[in-house]
């Protein structure tokens, strides 16, 4: 430690950057533990900051010049960098490297650079939708890294990429500033979608939401249909059990099967799908009528015995 500090303080002579081999004159460049680098991000890749330092996320740092940078410059003599791995076709990759390399706090590299390792994984992987398999491989290799995809995507493809784990989606027509902002946002784990992508996705989901129940071709058993019919009427598990003369556990088991078949997670969603599909419209209407009537009538036995709709 002492030797490192000593070398850091006293070395002033000309050296070569161990990353790119560029000659770094004495007094220029960046020093890290006895080595001189042509760029600060080379130094950071060669001597990555310790994990606890990388985990620090202070709000004031977002715009740069915050507490962390101040602490970094005071204590460690370096700035916090955001390591970005760019994957995709060569032209896009090189263009992005050139664009992002202009940012001081970005450390941009590609797979070929071999600057990322298990000890220094990238914060953000920028991929392209043309190479989803390559993207998946990269994600598997660096599971902590956040994925941002730059491509002109159809809503279905965008939805699939989000399922695959991408948290940033930007079109090729996005502005460079927007992209840089998006990389910072993605690095913090925020789902970041370009407005055009978001608009297309919402429209697609809305369409799917209305279209899918009508074209639903799930095969429900007679008993599951009975349970769903009671569900539409707003019955509880116990009420359904009493209506169908089944045990509560059996009803719950039917409900689990129903949820799985309909692809929903709650009874409300299941009932909503059934109503939208127009399966039990009469029952639902009658249920609403019964509900409105029940506020007016005094049913002495309703607390004890459920009223049957048959």
């Amino acid at each position: 430690m002492f030797a490192q500090l000593k070398s850091r303080l006293h070395i002033k002579r000309e050296e070569r950057c161990p990353i790119c081999g560029e000659v770094v004159p004495g007094g220029r460049g960046v020093q890290r533990y006895g080595k001189r680098f042509c760029h600060s991000w080379h130094a950071d890749f060669y001597h990555p900051p310790p994990p606890w330092w990388r985990r620090l996320r202070w709000p004031a740092d977002e715009g740069g010049g915050g507490l962390r940078d101040a602490a970094a410059s005071l204590c460690l003599g370096r700035k916090m960098t955001l390591s970005v791995l760019v994957a995709g076709p060569a032209l896009l990759r090189e263009g992005l490297c050139a664009l992002l390399g202009q940012e001081e706090d970005f450390a941009v590299g590609t797979e070929a650079n071999a600057i990322f390792s298990a000890r220094s994984p990238p914060d953000v992987i920028i991929g392209c939708a043309d190479t989803p398999d390559a993207l998946r491989d990269l994600q598997a290799r660096w599971p902590q890294a956040r994925v941002l995809v730059i491509a002109d995507l159809s809503p279905a493809a965008a939805s699939r990429l989000i399922d695959l784990g991408a948290i940033g989606l930007f079109p090729l027509a996005a502005e460079p500033d927007e992209l840089i902002w998006a990389i910072r946002s993605v690095a913090q784990g925020r789902l970041t979608l370009h407005p055009s992508v978001l608009r297309a996705l919402v429209a697609h989901l809305a369409e799917a939401d209305y279209a899918s129940p009508l074209s639903l071709t799930v095969s429900l058993t007679a008993r599951e249909r009975d349970v769903l019919r009671c569900l539409v009427l707003g019955a509880s598990d116990k009420d359904i059990a009493q209506q169908l003369y089944l045990s509560v556990r059996t009803v719950q088991s039917h409900l689990i099967h129903l949820y799985r078949k309909l692809g929903v997670r709650s009874r409300t969603e299941a009932a909503l799908i059934a109503v939208r599909a127009g399966w039990f419209v009469e029952e639902a209407t009658r249920g609403m009528d019964e509900f409105s009537n029940s506020t007016e009538t005094d049913s002495r036995h309703s607390a004890l015995v459920p009223t049957r709709s048959e």
């Binding site: 116990k238 059990a241 089944l246 556990r249 607390a303 004890l304 009223t307 049957r308």
Partner: protein, 198 residues
């Protein structure tokens, strides 16, 4: 096929119009402790579905139904929609049936707890007395008795087959208990156990 566990519990349905030394709280506590999945109760389906609680036997009205309401126990009415039509005997038969019924009621009064009513000795005595009453009542009474028993048995089987693998408690008039118990044992998908083993 999944085997269902079934227990038959006798109650004093026939005496519900009279003041009897029968602690309904004990019965309610018993059901609460057993916590069956299904409670097949000897009440008429139309009474149950229309909520006509007043026409149900007192032990259902005051003990079993409130317990079912407060728990996850599901009540299944098994007495059908017709119930048991009373057969009027005349002359000597009526007198004999009256005496036997009086003796049966005396026995039931003496056995004041569900445990006593469902004990082996009481079951044997009850079985004998019921056999005598059916014999004394004549062929019509025997037919009505057999029809009611068959209906109850069929409804219990329907409930068990509809929801296999569950713990089912059948509460019937104690006069039917031994008969139903014996008939249910003939079915492979049913494991008949004592009510405290359910």
């Amino acid at each position: 096929m999944t085997e269902s566990r079934v227990a038959v519990l006798g109650t004093l349905s026939d005496l519900h119009r009279q003041s009897i030394a029968y602690d309904l709280k004990v019965l309610a506590r018993l059901i609460k402790e057993i916590q069956p999945d299904l409670l097949c109760a000897e009440i008429r389906r139309d009474h149950w579905e229309t909520g006509d609680v007043a026409r149900m036997p007192v032990e259902y009205r005051e003990a079993l139904l409130p317990v079912c309401k407060r728990s996850d126990i599901v009540l299944v009415p098994i007495a059908g929609t017709q119930g048991e039509s009373p057969v009027e005997s005349r002359g000597l038969r009526a007198a004999l049936v009256g005496v036997l019924n009086w003796q049966l009621r005396l026995m039931q009064r003496l056995a004041g707890t569900p445990e006593a009513i469902n004990s082996g000795a009481f079951g044997v005595m009850c079985s004998w007395m019921c056999g005598l009453i059916a014999w004394a009542g004549g062929p019509e009474a025997r037919r009505a008795w057999a029809a009611a028993n068959g209906r109850i048995l069929q409804n219990v089987l329907d409930a068990v087959r509809r929801d296999p693998g569950r713990r089912v408690l059948v509460t019937v008039d104690c006069r039917r208990r031994h008969l139903l118990d014996r008939r249910l044992r003939a079915f492979g998908e049913i494991e008949v156990v004592e009510f405290h083993q359910l």
